[in-house]
Structure formats: C-alpha cells, structure tokens
C-alpha cells in the first residue's frame, strides 16, 4: 500500500521559467574541484 504523505514527498515543485534567472544567481554550485582549490588555498595560508 502507498502511504500518501511518504509518496507525496517524492514530488517537488518544478522550476518556472520566470524563476530561472533568480535560481541561477542564488545557486552556488560546489564541485570537488572547488573543494580541492579551497583546501589548497588553506594549505598555502
């Protein structure tokens, strides 16, 4: 049997095209390379 609340949590609102620009600016994607750079800068200091 499906649990309503549990199942519903799998669905999230989809990005509207009007919110794309705002979403890009607010997002700060960090990948592993950024992490490595951060670590290297810390080592230098």
């Amino acid at each position: 049997m499906l649990d309503f609340k549990t199942e519903l949590k799998k669905y999230q609102p989809i990005l509207d095209i009007e919110d794309v620009e705002e979403n890009i600016h607010s997002e700060e994607i960090k990948d592993i390379i950024d992490l490595l750079q951060y670590l290297s800068e810390n080592n230098k200091n």
Partner: protein
C-alpha cells in the same frame, strides 16, 4: 605536464606551484565526471531517463564546468517537461563555453518558438498547482490540473506519475495502469512508476523483468530454474513428517524440563521455603526472647514498685507515728492549761501505732484526759441547761458524750447527759429523737438515777402521739 586548473607548467610532484591544487585528484575528478557523463548518455540512449538524470547530476558534482553533462541534462529535462530546469542548465552551459556549444542552439530554438515554451511552462504551473492541492488533500482539483498539464505536454513525466498517484488514491486502478504504461514509454525503469505498477499488480512491469533478464543473460549467468509445483502426496508426507517432528520435539522438551528445569525450580523453591522457615524460626525465637525479657523486666518493675510502695507505707507510718507522738507530747504540754484541747488532740490518735511498751501509759493518759474533758463539758452543759440555753448545752453534752464513749464505765453522768438531751429534744418538740434517747437510757442504763424520769417522759411522748393519731382519725 601542465596544471589542468590554471594551465601552469610549474609543477612539483603532484602539486601545482601556481594554484596549489592537487593535480592527481583534480585530474581524477574530471575523469570521473566524464565517465559519469558517458554512462548518463548511455542511459539516455536507452530511454532510462531517471538514471541518466542521476548520473549527469553526479557528473556535474565532480566537475561543474562539464558543459556536456549540462547540455544533456537540460535536454532530458526538456523532454520530460521540466522546462525551467532545462533552461537553467543550458544558460549555465552557455556561460561556461560560449562558442561551439549546442546549448546556444537549443536556446535559439526555444526563443524562436515562444508559444511552445510558454505552453509547456503553463503545464508546469498546472503541475505546481496540483501539488499544492494535494498537500491540502484536495485530490479532485489536483486531478483536474494534472490532466490539463498532461494535455499540454504529453511527455510531462512528473505530472503523469502524480496523476497515477491521484488515481491510486481514488481507487481508479485501470486509469493508473494506463498512465503507468504511458510513463514507462517515456522513461523506462522509472522507480516511481515501477513502484506504482508493483502496488497495483503485485509484480514489476514487464520492461523491468525484460531488462533484468537481459542483464542476467548478458552476464552469462544461467537463468534460475522455474518453480515446479510439488505433488499433493509429497506435500502431505512432508506435513505429516513435520507434525511427527513437532511432537517428538515437544516430548524431548518436556523431558528436558522434567529432568533439568523443573527439579531446578523445585530445588529453588525448596531453598526459599527453607529460608523462609528459618526466618520464621528466628523471628519466633526473637519474639520469645523478647517476651521473656519483657516479662522479666515487668516482674522487676513490679517488685520495685512494691518495694517502693512498702517503703512509702513505712515512711507514712513513721510519719503518722511521729505525728501521733507530737500530738501526745503537745497534749501533755497543754493539759493543765487547756484540758479540752488536749483531749481533742488525744481523740485523733490511733492506738495501733503506739509502741507496745508505751501503749499502756498512753492509754492511761488518754483516758484520764478524756475523763477530765468529759466532766468539764458535762458541767458546762448542765450549767447552760439550767440557764435555759438548750442549744449551747446540747453542744457541751454531745462533746462530753464523745469523750465519754472512750470509757463509758468510768463516767457516771453519761445517763444524765442522755436524759438531758432527751429533755431538750422534747422541749424542742423533736419527739422522735427524744423518745429514742429516753429509750436508749432505759435500755442501756437500767440502774440509772434518772431511769424513772426517762420512763415517764417516754410515756408522755408516746401518749401524746396516740392522742394526736386519734384526733387525726
């Protein structure tokens, strides 16, 4: 060798002297990102779009500048109706690489078809509304919005899955199955869709079974043997055997309990009983000892009490003796001056308290004092009687009688006292008292000198009473 990050050639070991980055790890990250992109591409070609999205997202996490991953991810989002996410990826990709980037052409196409873009966005709006309605448990409104979204964009996978879910809620399984089929055509092996299929039918969708079978075959594994229904007889034999085994096991269990567990329990209980009995005995013994001690103590206390009482009695006796001796001595002292008072003092003494050796002397002293006092009082009473002061004379006569009672044989005027008291009573019309006194005199003093007078007075009283009785009648 140049640094993949800053393109510097100043490298020491694996560390770039210019930017300080670990070149080995850096290069690995990029390789992994590319590998994930390739896998994502493979999945996308196989229409396993959910897996492809996962892999491409991971690729971006390893290298956010991997615009290939972003372009493909955007494409998949566009295909499945997630317009905003698609645009986002393409915009970022085009910012990363401005030339020879397919993302630019995608965006051109979209910009050249604004109706298509806005209609697909409207589908997104309907979807978001439907989600909002479902959060408020308004399933009907949600279904309406989702149907609109799917009508606008038939490949809107999220909307199809959500509509499937709504149909499951309202119990419309046939419609749900239709939607599941539709979704699986767009995205094979979508986990949410498969889950819904499993919920309705109890089995995963055919596509999943097919792909699993292909996986097994591709790994050169032998397929599992098909299940064969056992024959009824064999099933019955196994059941009977199990029953026998159960019974046998039960018997062994009971035997083990009887020989090992129960004796142990019984032994424990016996120990407890023994301990309890010992405790009871101890308590009984303690109680007995306590009783004995208490009785002994009570006896001792009673003895002490008795001793104290005896001592107190002795002391009281000694006090009384001392008091009596004081009285006697005082009586001796005042006898000459006040014989009446001396007699009063001696009247109070208790002869039993007098020592044996002194008793006779004290008795003689008392008697002589009483005699003297009685005589004195008689004379005073007679004097007052002759004066007609009967009340005063009564007092003297009665006091005299008191002392006279101690030694009546020595006092010759007792009969006179009784006679005079009788006369006074007669005079005061106390005939009963008078008669009583005259009768006493006649009875106790037959040789009295006032015998005849007493008899006459008594006769008078009795006669007057009988006359009065006759008058009353």
């Amino acid at each position: 060798m140049e640094c993949p990050n800053c393109k510097s050639k100043s490298i020491k070991g694996y560390i770039c002297n210019s930017c300080g980055v670990d070149i080995f790890t850096f290069s690995k990250s990029i390789k992994v990102s590319n590998l994930l992109y390739n896998k994502g591409l493979e999945k996308a070609n196989n229409l396993e779009l959910s897996f492809a999205i996962e892999l491409l997202c991971q690729s971006i996490e390893f290298n956010k500048n991997n615009y290939y991953s972003r372009n493909l991810l955007g494409l998949i989002y566009y295909e499945t109706g997630r317009i905003g996410d698609a645009l986002k990826q393409w915009i970022i990709s085009s910012n990363l690489v401005k030339t020879n980037n397919i993302a630019m052409s995608y965006m051109h196409i979209i910009q050249n078809n604004p109706d298509d873009l806005y209609s697909k966005n409207e589908a997104v709006v309907h979807y978001n509304k439907a989600l909002d309605c479902l959060n408020k448990k308004n399933t009907d409104m949600a279904i309406t919005d989702l149907k609109k979204a799917i009508t606008i964009n038939p490949n809107f996978l999220n909307a199809i899955n959500l509509l499937t879910f709504c149909n499951l809620i309202i119990g419309n399984k046939s419609e749900a199955l239709n939607l599941i089929t539709k979704a699986l055509k767009i995205d094979k092996n979508n986990k949410i869709t498969e889950n819904y299929h499993l919920t309705i039918t109890g089995t995963p969708p055919k596509q999943t079974i097919e792909s699993q079978r292909q996986k097994i075959l591709s790994q050169n594994l032998t397929p599992p043997p098909s299940a064969v229904e056992p024959k009824m007889k064999r099933y019955s034999f196994i059941n009977f055997f199990h029953i026998i085994s159960f019974i046998f096991g039960s018997v062994i269990m009971l035997a083990l309990m009887f020989f090992f567990i129960i004796p142990g329990s019984v032994s424990d209980m016996e120990q407890q009983i023994l301990h309890s009995n010992n405790e009871i005995e101890r308590i009984s013994l303690d109680y007995t000892n306590f009783r004995v001690e208490s009785d002994t103590r009570i006896t001792e206390l009673l003895e002490d009490n008795e001793n104290l009482y005896n001592t107190l009695t002795e002391l009281r006796l000694q006090i009384n003796i001392a008091t009596q001796n004081d009285r006697i001595n005082e009586a001796r002292l005042i006898l000459a001056a006040n014989p009446l008072e001396a007699a009063e003092l001696l009247y109070e003494i208790d002869l039993s308290l007098i020592e044996e050796e002194n008793l006779e002397e004290i008795i003689q002293f008392r008697d002589s004092t009483f005699l003297s006092a009685a005589s004195s009082l008689y004379n005073s009473g007679l004097q007052q009687y002759n004066l007609g002061n009967f009340e005063i004379s009564v007092g003297f006569f009665e006091r005299s009688l008191r002392f006279a009672e101690a030694q009546p044989e020595d006092l010759v005027f007792i009969d006179d006292i009784i006679y005079f008291l009788g006369r006074i009573a007669q005079h005061g019309q106390e005939y009963e008292r008078a008669a009583s006194l005259f009768l006493q005199l006649i009875t106790e003093f037959p040789d009295s000198n006032v015998f005849s007078q007493a008899s006459e007075r008594l006769h008078e009283i009795l006669s007057s009473n009988s006359e009065q009785d006759m008058e009353n009648d």
